[in-house]
Symmetry: C2
Subunit: 457 residues, 2 copies
């Protein structure tokens, strides 16, 4: 197939949107607008609604001539044969589960765009050189069973199967991931492993979940990697005292101290070109006239490089105890009354190292984006690092990988109001389709550089 | 009675402690030490436990020769006749209700010390010139029915009876203050009013609930007034965004902004010799990887003068919107990344103006403290302003008033570990007893200055 032939393979925008909205009738969430499609999603992993969406995925891909395989983690691999079926497929992958107050595009766009790709290939009687697949990864969100990207993690050999199987649903449930896989009929027998289900490549289309594309008026983000991050829990221990009877210098105010730490972490992030965010903060005892003696907060640190994240963590571990002890870090104490010393403990809950995507996949996406957006479309495409984790992080450990980002309104995601314009969904799906076909051709022409790399192709 | 006769009137420390611990078997809270008396208290106003403590108060004071009157708010007035019973009594007052996680001394010490006073007077066959009374005020804490000092407030004419009667218990209850008064048999028929139940004076013994006495090695605080305070609620509105995909300059981080406000309020308080405290902070949505878009926090501002509290409130109302808009107040933004503007709204929930106690009562307490603590005891006594509100605030609106503070361990109160040494309880009770007898004598000798003041005597 030559460059010109790509032009004949056209994603059907209307059909793609119909698939998105059709599947979103399972697990519909909060209504935010007037139109029937203006709702969020609440399709927790391995729920009845997730089963219905999975059943649709299996039936639809089988009807398009795919063979489907379910592995021990419930990951569903739909494979469309090519001319040379002794080699692994080139995959498109994403997830059908959502956050409890999620939207219609996070994950869902990636899977439905994969299905649309299969439809376009079928409509046009295209025979690819190698097989092409679409994978629906189980429980990417980690919302119900609290470990995100867990099933691509098992596939990649990074997370033990037993640990994933035994993961218990969040309070107050008692089900495990394995018991729920069994209950909805998606506990497969194929090993959840890159060896049992090898991939020649993994392409993922996703909404950006951030504001950069929209703010820069770009249409396609070519994702070159995923930033590193660590999640810390910080516990500040002071002393509960009466707000009216305790002068400022006799206080060990855990919230005032936590406020300084939050501000300091932001300044550290600014200085290092990184991100630091606190999304959870709990205090005790929680009364207007009691100075809180206990504050616990989350600290999410992200940067492009593992070394930057490690450096920030080290600075936090060095400086937070100083702030607790009353030292003046960043001149934050200027104008404050020195109080009593407090203590602080910091634990690391989660570590996600940086992922660097594969140059061939990045190249395929880049070329496809320029092809889809037309001549002189350089200004509509930007290379970027993903701020969020995705199944592509684990996929990239075992096969060449890249991602395609499309803009979402105001960068909002994990929210019922998450929204991606229809034309942007379709553009992203078109770039995805062309990336897969382009990669298939690169494989055939042996022009790909990854043949020297230790992937099973 | 002359100065020398005071020396014969001796508080019985053992008996006082027995009364404290005896009444604390109703509504016992969390155990914190090994001894049977090392527990907190959880005796919510108008609960069954409160009824038992009230029954004890009525029976005990009646057995000591008092006439008891219950008013429409359930305030119990126990009056011991004097020689001239056509004039109002000199009162001792405090409260038997506690916080849900309170201690054994807050309020309880004041009432039991009043009962001990009655016992000492009875033991010694003392006839006072004027009647002497002990009052147990209903629901000082405002923990179950959320308005503190509510029944002394009705007595003083500052809070309407109907509003107090209709006060509903905090979630998830449905009872009102009136329905519970009725249920436990303490809905009296005497109007809750300073006109129906006039007082010649109100003396209150209380633990300090702060660290100043302990830190300064003082034994008695002579309380000259109560500081003013306002309670504000601050709502910061930003935008929920993904922590990984939203760069710092595209954020409207409500928690980072709230942290700056909390730090700024502390600096304002420091600059004005006042107090500013945040005891409650709630945020939404509350997820490690979401920048919070909504933060609500309490701000408790206190100072000796009403004008200082008003000035601090005005500064908060002027500067918090500037902080939300991104202006650099206090150089807090130095080293920060400027984000998107946020909005803030501030409401005032509660206002308690400063109270100034009466010079005659203060004088009576001062003289009694020096008498009790012995020659050269000036160094053991300090004049102080109460940081917390007390029923004496409302009492002082309608009669000469003062308070006596005794040290409590580490200044801890509203906590099961609240603790006051036995000897300090007894010293405080002795000063209370002498203050009342001294004031009675001052009334008799017409040496009191308040006869010219608009109190009904």
């Amino acid at each position: 197939m030559t460059e010109e032939h790509f032009k004949d393979l056209k994603v059907n925008q209307k059909r793609l949107m119909e698939d998105i909205h059709h599947t979103c009738k399972w697990g519909t969430g909060e209504q935010w607008g007037e139109a029937a499609t203006e709702t969020g999603m609440s399709r927790l992993a391995l729920s009845d609604a997730d089963k219905q969406a999975r059943d649709w995925f299996v039936e639809t891909t089988q009807a398009l001539g795919c063979k489907t395989t379910v592995d021990e983690m419930g990951n569903i691999f739909a494979i469309r044969p090519g001319l040379k079926n002794d080699k692994p497929p080139t995959y498109v992958g994403s997830h059908l589960d959502t956050q409890p107050t999620g939207g219609r595009y996070d994950g869902i766009l990636g899977v439905t765009a994969g299905v649309e790709m299969l439809k376009v290939l079928a409509d046009n009687w295209v025979e690819t050189e190698y097989p092409v697949g679409v994978v629906n990864w189980t429980n990417e969100e980690g919302a119900r069973f609290p470990m995100s990207m867990v099933s691509s993690g098992v596939w990649a050999g990074s997370i033990p199967l037993e640990k994933a199987h035994n993961l218990r649903e969040v309070h107050p449930g008692t089900a495990t991931q394995k018991s729920e896989l069994e209950r909805i009929g998606y506990l497969g027998t194929t090993p959840a492993s890159y060896e049992a289900m090898p991939m020649a490549a993994h392409f993922e289309l996703h909404i950006e979940q951030g504001p950069l594309l929209e703010m820069a008026n770009k249409k396609i983000g070519v994702v070159t990697g995923v930033q590193a991050y660590k999640w810390l829990t910080v516990k500040v221990k002071g002393r509960d005292t009466h707000t009216g009877t305790t002068d400022l210098k006799s206080r060990a105010d855990a919230l005032l101290t936590a406020s300084k730490m939050i501000l300091h972490s932001h300044k550290l992030a600014t200085a290092h070109g990184a991100l630091a965010s606190t999304g959870i903060l709990n205090l005790k005892p929680g009364s207007t006239n009691t100075v809180p003696g206990d504050v616990t907060f989350s600290l999410d640190i992200r940067a492009k490089k593992d070394s930057t994240v490690a450096e920030l963590k080290a600075l936090v571990e060095r400086n937070f105890p100083k702030i607790a002890a009353g030292e003046d870090i960043d001149s934050l104490n200027h104008g404050c009354t020195a109080g009593l010393p407090l203590s602080v403990s910091i634990t690391e809950d989660f570590d996600s190292p940086a992922a660097t995507f594969h140059s061939d996949c990045i190249h395929a996406v880049q070329q496809s984006a320029l092809s889809v957006l037309g001549p002189n479309s350089n200004s509509l495409v930007m290379e970027m690092t993903s701020g969020a984790g995705h199944d592509s992080v684990y996929a990239s450990k075992r096969c060449p990988t890249s991602m395609i980002f499309v803009p979402c309104r105001e960068g909002v995601s994990h929210n019922p109001r998450e929204f991606c314009e229809e034309v942007d969904c379709a553009t992203g799906a078109q770039v995805l389709l062309e990336s897969v076909v382009r990669f298939d051709r690169m494989r055939d022409e042996r022009r790909v550089t990854w043949k020297q790399e230790p992937y099973t192709l």
